[in-house]
């Protein structure tokens, strides 16, 4: 059976424009959440988000290229660049028909769509820009990465809300495992911080306002949690067939050994225990790992009233007594909920935890919640050998994606 390893990492997000900066900020417990700057949020009840601060697209892309790139595709290209460059791969030596891309995004080109609607309904224009379609389509990120590097293998895009990147990485993993590709760039990207999107989220009543202290707004598993905070950015990982990686002497961050996906078939927004639990069990089973071997879970941990107790029950259901021994943290407390990118950004954090032997904390944890009574690594990063780690993504719509990484 072909095995799949991770040989490249890329992040472009609020807490860092590269993996190293991103992870050191996580370990330091820093928050990327602050008052929104992309538009004036004064009229909103939720005025905070984890934006990429002072981001200027012109620093990264020539004008002609930029015309066709929504912000979410820009982030995808930037994270993909780091993932590829960090891998040491020489593209000239590779069969690019065996190298593919799967990228997830929940909202696609939300900013282009938002400004298009403003022109249409607000300004009453009758003509919309001809680049609108190629910019908003969810597969723009995948396609632009393929075009940038001439990658001609299996390529697609996933759209499963907050599990989009988890599913993208899982599907890419299986494409290599079952012989359809040798190399895959996989991850997710999202740029959902628009006036329209924020208004939509506001109405769901699951968002933290921060009460004047943005950096402390997202408090997963803490009794005083307020809800989730939206973030933007991208995460991309280079997945590679193990022997292929060995032949070229690649640095291996870990083995992507298990992927579980399941549907709650329950409620469009309320999570179940059974669905996510089944996804975790599937990932364990595929990896041939017993629950007791898992050292760390990077939780979905949104900080909402519904997610955190449910996820705690899920972990107890799968891991039994071991649930109290393993470490759990929600890095969303710092980088926000990056929606369709979050599974990738969090898998990068998970892989770095294995590599560095440091578990990033759940920041902003202040009060124990009787319904969330496990070890959430509160506030302080922890030195610990991590051999096996699980990354959870449980989406609106009840579609779950769980990835399992093992140290090699």
């Amino acid at each position: 059976m072909r095995r799949v390893v991770i040989t490249g990492l890329g992040v472009f997000a609020s807490l860092g424009r590269d993996t190293k900066t991103f992870f050191s900020n996580l370990v330091a417990g820093r928050s990327g959440v602050r008052r929104i700057t992309q538009f004036d949020p004064s009229g909103l009840s939720v005025q905070i988000a984890a934006e990429v601060p002072d981001y200027n697209p012109a620093d990264y892309f020539p004008p002609k290229r930029l015309d066709l790139l929504d912000r979410f595709t820009q982030f995808a290209l930037l994270a993909a660049k780091e993932a590829l460059e960090s891998s040491g791969l020489d593209l000239a030596q590779e069969d690019t028909t065996r190298f593919g891309v799967v990228m997830g995004s929940g909202m696609g080109g939300a900013q282009t769509l938002d400004s298009g609607y403003w022109n249409l309904y607000g300004k009453q224009l009758t003509r919309l820009h001809p680049f609108t379609i190629p910019k908003i389509m969810h597969n723009a990120a995948t396609s632009q990465i393929c075009m940038e590097y001439g990658l001609r293998g299996p390529a697609s895009a996933t759209v499963t809300a907050c599990s989009s990147a988890g599913h993208a990485i899982g599907e890419a993993f299986h494409l290599i495992k079952y012989g359809l590709a040798d190399l895959m760039l996989a991850g997710g990207s999202e740029a959902p911080i628009t006036y329209g999107m924020l208004r939509c989220w506001e109405s769901v009543r699951v968002m933290a306002t921060g009460d004047g202290d943005a950096s402390r707004a997202c408090r997963p598993f803490s009794a005083d949690r307020q809800g989730m905070v939206i973030g933007e950015g991208a995460g991309v990982l280079l997945l590679e067939e193990l022997e292929h990686a060995r032949r070229r002497g690649a640095k291996v961050y870990g083995e992507l050994a298990g992927f579980g996906m399941s549907s709650d078939a329950g409620h469009i927004t309320q999570p179940t225990v059974e669905g996510p639990a089944r996804a975790i069990r599937m990932a364990l089973e595929e990896a041939g790992v017993s629950p007791e071997e898992v050292d760390y879970i990077n939780a979905h941990g949104t900080g909402t009233r519904l997610n955190d107790p449910t996820e705690t029950q899920v972990i107890k259901a799968v891991f039994g007594d071991h649930a109290r021994k393993l470490a759990i943290s929600s890095t969303k407390s710092m980088h926000g909920h990056v929606m369709g990118a979050t599974g990738a950004v969090e898998l990068v954090a998970t892989v770095k935890a294995i590599e560095q032997g440091v578990i990033p904390p759940t920041a902003n944890y202040t009060q124990p919640d009787p319904e969330c009574d496990l070890d959430y690594v509160p506030n302080q990063a922890r030195q610990a050998a991590v051999r096996v780690a699980v990354s959870n993504s449980f989406a609106f719509g009840g579609l779950n994606a769980v990835l399992l990484v093992r140290a090699l």
């Binding site: 004008p63 002609k64 015309d67 066709l68 003509r127 820009h129 001809p130 680049f131 190629p134």
Partner: protein, 96 residues
């Protein structure tokens, strides 16, 4: 500024080209303008001149000269049925 100067200015701007590259006798092919660039330029021309360029006429715009000629006639409110007819006989635009 006459129509030709305006067209050259718009193509230069939309293609992010240095000044002086776009000339009255440049073809779209020479300028590296593909089908998607072409519709973008049409959009900019329509916005600039506050006009509608019919698809059938648009399909025939493959050079600066053709754009200027077609546009001049549209702007003058002249009968453009011969342009439409010409476009019908020509190769359809390669947009998908």
């Amino acid at each position: 500024m006459n129509v030709e100067e305006k067209v050259i200015e718009i193509i230069t701007r939309e293609q992010h080209l240095p000044p002086g590259v776009v000339k009255p006798d440049s073809t779209f092919a020479e300028l590296g303008i593909d089908s998607l660039d072409g519709v973008n330029i049409l959009f900019a021309l329509e916005e600039e001149f506050k006009i509608d360029i019919p698809d059938s006429v648009a399909q025939n715009m493959k050079s600066v000269r053709q754009v200027v000629d077609s546009l001049t006639r549209v702007l003058q409110g002249k009968d453009i049925s011969d342009l439409v007819e010409m476009a019908k006989q020509g190769t359809p635009a390669a947009t998908s």
